[in-house]
């Protein structure tokens, strides 16, 4: 296949009519975020950067879990691979940070293809558990191979040679750019052939294959894209925090949080996961400020509440009429 054909396969599809005011609102919000560093600094810049980061991870997860319906709980392994590749290339080889980030993302995508070929054949729980196992295996290798990766003590990256405020602003813009890239990728996939194929796979994989979708390739491509974006984010995270340890960058809770964000906004939609990430992170940030000791408890309660009350996301909730009786009816319908 030529490159042109691949591009067509990935992104071509029915044109989506965006309404004029939707575009205008989008541009205004985008410009607003671009201008924001002029007015805020320090704490809120970092908070927004971390919200962007979660939105990117969630958006990337959405490609494999939202569109294709594969519960990749171990997706965070790509984050760790991106982070560690960046760290290792900067420290051991002396690459500039952005080269490390790109190489890390490419490695993450290659790793996704390599392990995706066998384990994307597994379905349901087995796939979820296989991804958890892969995450665990890579984390343990990073832990035990201390002479190279720094092991459980973690590893410190070279500090950026610029003023700290402008460094944080730069990270802010990088994360924002990555977020735009993630939204664009999700949008192109959603309207393209790949998106149709993935949704068909999610709804009924056997039927999708019977109607001519080559499911293995589609799933591997989707996971590789997801891994690439997650790997990029991991690399930037490593440069941003300039200290990483296995327990931090392979933390399964990041993936669980991303799943909740995805569901909160609406899985398998373009903007839903991003909105979910903003909602949950803002809540988490305000809660964190209030109750330092029990914020994880509250996060747990939020997770349970989201799963039971709004499993289809807030977008879906707004589209329909919200009422208590409708919520209760919904719960009754889905319980046994």
């Amino acid at each position: 296949m030529t490159i042109e054909k691949w591009l067509l396969f990935l992104f071509d599809g029915a044109p989506v009519e965006l309404k004029k005011n939707q575009i205008i609102i989008g541009i205004i919000i985008g410009l607003g975020f671009m201008a924001l560093p002029l007015f805020i600094e320090g704490y809120w810049i970092r908070v927004l950067s971390s919200i962007f980061m979660y939105a990117i991870i969630t958006g990337a997860l959405n490609i494999i879990a939202g569109f294709a319906g594969y519960a990749a709980f171990g997706n965070i392994v790509f984050f760790g691979i991106g982070a560690y590749t960046t760290a290792m290339l900067m420290l051991r080889v002396g690459f500039p940070w952005w080269t490390g980030v790109f190489v890390g993302a490419i490695l993450a995508a290659l790793f996704a293809v390599l392990v995706g070929l066998p384990i994307l054949r597994l379905r349901g729980h087995y796939f979820a558990i296989a991804t958890l196992g892969i995450n665990r295996a890579v984390e343990q290798i990073a832990l035990d191979w201390g002479s190279f990766t720094g092991g459980g003590k973690g590893i410190t990256l070279p500090l950026p040679k610029m003023e700290i405020q402008s460094f944080y602003a730069m990270i802010y813009f990088i994360m924002f750019g990555l977020l735009l890239l993630t939204i664009l990728t999700n949008f192109l996939i959603a309207r393209g052939r790949l998106g149709y194929a993935l949704r068909a796979i999610r709804d009924n994989e056997d039927a999708a294959e019977a109607s001519g979708i080559f499911a293995p390739t589609c799933k591997v491509i989707a996971w590789a894209i997801s891994a690439f974006i997650t790997g990029l984010t991991g690399g930037v995270f490593a440069y941003w925090f300039s200290f990483i340890e296995p327990a931090m960058v392979f933390d399964i809770m990041i993936a669980v949080k991303a799943f909740v964000m995805m569901m909160l906004g609406g899985a398998g939609t373009v903007l839903g996961p991003i909105i979910g990430a903003f909602l949950l992170e803002l809540i988490s940030e305000t809660v964190w400020g209030q109750f330092l000791t029990i914020h994880m408890l509250i996060l747990g309660i939020i997770v349970v509440g989201v799963v039971i009350f709004i499993p289809r996301g807030v977008l879906d909730l707004f589209r329909k009429k919200i009422s208590l009786s409708a919520l209760i009816r919904n719960i009754k319908n889905q319980s046994i």
């Binding site: 597994l122 343990q140 309660i301 039971i308 889905q334």
Partner: protein
Amino acid sequence: MILQVLLNGIFLGAIYANIAVGFSLAWGVMDVINVTHGTMIVIGSFITFFLFKYVGIDPFLSIPVSMFVLFLIGYCTQKYLLNLVVKVGIFLSLILTFGLDLVFINVVLMIFTGDYRSVTPSYSGTNFQLGQITIPYIRLATLGICVLLTILLQLFLTKTRTGNAIRATSQNRQAAEIVGVNVAKVYSITLAVSAALAGACGSLISMVQSFTPFEGGFFIMKAFIICVLGGLGNVLGAIIGGLILGIVETMGARVLGTGFQEAISAIIMILVLIFMPKGIVGSKYK
């Protein structure tokens, strides 16, 4: 020497099997991956710790107490939370149990703080010699209780009415519903039994190693590996998987040292998933 290592492996494997039996029951019957299972084990450990330290009850006598408490926790979890989403698909139940896990961990953390705890009755550390082999009393008793619990579970599943209903629901939920099984109730009992086994396991583990509220993730990873290795759908799978893992880990630590142990067992699990997805003796609960 090799006999001693093998025996240690069997002791460890018995505990592993005990971890996985309950977990595999919930997974096999309801298709629910109960991530809280690890933390339920930890709760069992803390119940034993509390009763031993503040009430002065012998750890072995506290096993029924932790089983009872965990039975109630499991029953309520399934009845009021998991039953609401279990029909929709694996996504929701998996994420729900992750969230619930956070809640459990932090409640335990608030009550008992994050310190390392251990239960050390007067007879801990005592052992007897059998030829060349050293056998600690606690390990032996643990092995015995694990075997006893497994036999009881098997009898419960095959000889009682409720057990039959559980197996019927596992084979075909709709058909079971048609012949009059109250599926919601059966599910609640299934998770309750699974949690009770976790409680017993926690009580036993509290005497063997020290623990914190965060230990659950370690147990759950072992449970994954054992269930994948042995296969779902019967008690035998968990026993075989647990024993294999216990012996392999002990032997591996002896021969290769402890580095990369976790990574290797995770990789073995993935390979088994790829090449032998049904495990060694996997099937439906029959």
